[in-house]
């Protein structure tokens, strides 16, 4: 009997410990078993000389989220050449690899085949719902070999675009004394993870919340066919009661005004119209500032309803006021696609596209191109180029090609000062992509290339010789300027 009692006592003693292993961590320094460092070696590009490359290295924080899976943010992951992981904040680095990266939602998952790396590491546990109001948040990371934990105070929930795309979703804002965060550091409360820090400006940090992350992890863990959707229409707050009255909406002011409904590129019909009043989204009432009451996050901008448990192609019921009566329309969420923007984000994980003809350098207009003007590119980049940002791509104009510079050669004499001109036509054919330009250059007009640009103060049209002179000049330019290829087109394929 005494032996039984001793065994029972042992079991009773072990069981709580076993159960504790399934519970969250009691102490902050236990985050050492879930937080790791990730190093991405990357190829970096000079968008002003898109053929030039250099190397760079980024250190990020990773969070063990499942067996053999470490999660981080997708910023500074693109064009990586090497991934290494380190646990414990010091010591040996282990080679890893990227499992997937999703720039639309700013998340990336890495792993390593090295068994020894996973020993002693345990997945973190996500917080369900929003952190309690007075909860003491901490931002955790490895720094100089020690696990740093900095206090953070919850500020608010907001809806913001992702740092790597224009996809809007709910985010937390916290205030912290931590410096240099924004590389995927986990924000924790007690033993749970609230989210990952994606951005820091001053003391303010923006955090991708756990619920959103879990939803995205689920999508990537499944058949990976699900993509985030978004609301493609524009709306304005309906704070002006006169506007609602003018539309005949009775009762207390509510809803938002639909102001602009671009054509859909996915072939779906537009079910909304300008001057509709959007009253509800999937049963959530929308107030005049465009907020709905989220069960987890409280008042939140309606954009989040496009991703809250939803995917591209899913149906969203919109309750609207139109032509004097309430009605419900079924809105099918379009898939968030970088190509829907006239000036797309990125591009990611591909070398910059360009095409050189006779010293004239053509590049697609992208955010990465504009960002070569630095953090303040929205003020410093050429006005006409940045004015394209925010416009939707259309079938008539799916993209923009810029003649960014002219590498001087006798072939292009007279044009060497031209730069940042928007190309409209080449040899009588409209040009919106480098592929179209390449095709057009194969068909010169009477032995000449005729290029037309968007109106500007210098040249709207230039003419250059064809009939072999262009190819000779191109070869000469490549040689003189040390350029390996005359063109890099979509997907990184070299010119044929």
């Amino acid at each position: 009997m005494s032996r039984v009692f001793r065994l029972a006592a042992m079991l009773l003693g072990i069981a709580p410990m076993a159960m504790a292993g399934n519970e969250a961590r009691p102490a902050a320094n236990d985050w050492a078993t879930a937080v790791v460092r990730i190093e991405f070696s990357r190829t970096l590009y000079d968008l002003y000389q898109p053929w030039a490359r250099r190397t760079g290295r980024t250190l990020k924080t990773g969070l063990v989220v499942a067996e053999r899976q470490v999660l981080t943010t997708a910023q500074d992951v693109s064009d990586h050449t090497l991934v290494r992981l380190q646990k414990g904040g010091r010591g040996e680095w282990t080679l890893g690899k990227l499992l997937w990266v999703d720039y639309r939602v700013n998340l990336a998952l890495v792993t390593t085949a090295e068994e020894s790396f996973w020993r002693g590491l345990r997945p973190a546990v996500w917080l369900d719902g929003a952190p309690p109001g007075e909860a003491a948040l901490q931002i955790v990371r490895w720094r100089e070999g020690k696990l740093e934990s900095r206090r953070a105070e919850f500020t608010q929930f907001t809806v913001h675009p992702s740092q790597t795309s224009g996809l809007n979703h709910a985010q937390l804002e916290v205030d912290s004394e931590i410096q240099g965060a924004g590389s995927g550091e986990p924000v924790v409360v007690g033993s749970r993870v609230v989210g990952l820090v994606s951005f820091q400006g001053g003391r303010g940090c923006r955090v991708i919340p756990a619920s959103f992350i879990r939803q995205m992890l689920t999508a990537h863990g499944a058949d990976n066919s699900r993509s985030p959707g978004y609301f493609h229409f524009y709306w304005a707050p309906a704070e002006n009661v006169a506007s609602l009255a003018q539309l005949g909406l009775p009762g207390s002011p509510r809803g938002v005004l639909v102001t602009k409904v671009p054509a859909r590129l996915d072939g779906q019909p537009n079910v909304l119209r300008r001057r509709d009043v959007l009253l509800q989204v999937d049963g959530f009432a929308v107030d005049i500032q465009g907020d709905y009451r989220d069960p987890d996050f409280g008042p939140l901008m309606l954009e989040h309803l496009a991703v809250r448990g939803k995917w591209a192609g899913d149906e969203v019921r919109l309750r609207i006021w139109r032509e004097g009566r309430e009605q419900t329309v079924s809105y099918r969420l379009p898939r968030y696609d970088f190509a829907h923007d006239l000036v797309p984000w990125g591009p990611y994980d591909q070398p910059p596209q360009y095409l050189i003809m006779g010293g004239l350098v053509f590049q697609p207009l992208t955010r990465a191109y504009l960002q070569q003007w630095g953090a303040e590119w929205e003020q410093r980049a050429p006005f006409r180029l940045r004015y394209f940002v925010g416009e939707e791509a259309t079938p008539e104009q799916p993209a923009v090609v810029v003649m960014s510079q002219v590498l001087p050669d006798p072939y292009n004499i007279g044009y060497q000062d031209l730069r940042y001109l928007v190309l409209r036509e080449a040899n009588g054919r409209p040009v919106h992509t480098l592929g179209q330009l390449q095709e057009a250059l194969r068909q010169p007009q009477g032995g000449f290339h005729v290029l037309e640009f968007l109106a500007n103060d210098s040249f709207r049209r230039i003419v250059l010789a064809a009939a072999g002179a262009d190819q000779q000049a191109t070869a000469r330019v490549l040689e003189r300027y040390g350029i390996p290829q005359e063109a890099v087109l979509t997907g990184g394929a070299a010119a044929q």
Partner: protein, 550 residues
Amino acid sequence: MPAGPLVTLPWPETKGFAGQLQTARRMHWYGSVLDGYSARSSFGEMHRCSNVCLWAYARRLVGFCKTLVTVGLVGWAVTSAGAAQPERSVVQIVVFRQEPDWTLPWRFDAVRPANGSGFVIKGRRLMTNAHVVSWARQILVRRFQDPRPYLARVEFAGHDCDLAVLTVEEERFFDGLEPLEFGELPQVRSTVVTYGYPAGGEEISYTRGVVSRIELSAYTHPGNRQALSVQTDAAINPGNSGGPVIQDDRVVGVAFQGIPGLENTGFFIPCPVIQHFLRDIADGRYDGTPQMGIQLAPLQNPAYRARLRLPDNDLGVRVDYIRPHSPATNLLQREDVILQIGDYPVGSDNKILFAGNRVSGKLAIQLVQCGEPVSLRVWRDGRELSVAVPVRWFDEDRAGGNQYDVRPRYYVFGGLVFTPLSRDYLRSAFQGAARGESRDGDAELTYELFFRPQEDPGSVRKEPIVLSNVLADSVNANWSLRSRALVDRVNGMRIECLEDVIRAFETNTNAFDLVEFGRSQMFECLDHAAAVQAQARILKNYNIPRDRQL
């Protein structure tokens, strides 16, 4: 005789001679006198003379020196008298100016004093810069060393060329004042003297420099114009503006601007521009500096020249663009090559040779008066032809440049302030914008004013209108848009000008006014009856004298 600085003439010392001539005015003819006497060789000869000849030579020497001194004194007197003349005809101008607030366009900023210079010209008038007297509420002029201020007024102002002509109400102002004569375009490397009343003192000031460069450059005052200007290293400082630049006793220019941060760099408006202005106002009206309405592009690429079948002679520029409704519309074609404008062959770099200087071909057009034709030698389809194109002032460019001496147009209804989009408005609005404020609306306004006319002239509104401000009142308290928004439609009417806005509101019979805005396609509404009722209250509360200025 030209005035000049004091110089020390080197003179070889000789045994028994008094010594060097310490000071003398350097005069052009003084050197020739010296050369004629061959002073050095004379003294050399003196050294070798015997004592018997010494007295004879000494007498000759004394006679020579007397002549020299006499000539020098006479020259001094003459140049002293000549140096005083330009000064006496240079005036100090004191202006009290008041500029409008373009975002609240019934208001004016505080009155501010400013100083400039001017000079007397024929016809008992004064010439100065337009920017000296723009927005003037009062103009006072002071004569050289005369304490009395005289009231003046602007007779003509050419804001596009930054010149103005003033009259003085008191006739006796001009008593004893000689008008300064105009000269020609000075040569580079030649010397000029500026006269004026710049900052740093109260009396007249002179600075001397050389002509460094002559070309077309941007005139700051209009903001969107280039014209002929002369760069000099003579100091031109605030207060010099409007003062004469003199060479050989003639006015060769009017000092007008500098470049902050650049040393020894001042600019003056040369006589070709001045003469154009004076000829223009001779009929009692200033028409302005004309344009042809075409954009020319250099034609230096061999392939392009070959395609146009042009000879390889570095002549000709290509018509790259013809503005709609310009005088050239039915006379020139895109791809025409302009070989000569008036008397001036045009180089492939779009420059002409003007008085020995290579300057932009635009000058050849600017020298013509509005309405007059400019003869062009044109290359088209492989052959030459002559075309005469009349030139005119382009009022369409007015809003894109700085405007002066016209009250901003506006209309206020329901607390909504509407005003035409202009460069002046953008400048005022951007200066007043809070840091971090959204600039999307600003970008749209910038595009509308400066880019749409070039890119899509068919869609340009005659006078784009901006919602400049929303003066808070209960009738508009809930408006989200508060300022810097381009108006697209009011009550369904597309807005082409301010009068459209007025008409749209005044003819509305619906319960609400609907205002729709540009790129964002946002819209806002007003309770029409409430807005009408609030009108008097708003005008009173905000001290607006009237609801419109047209």
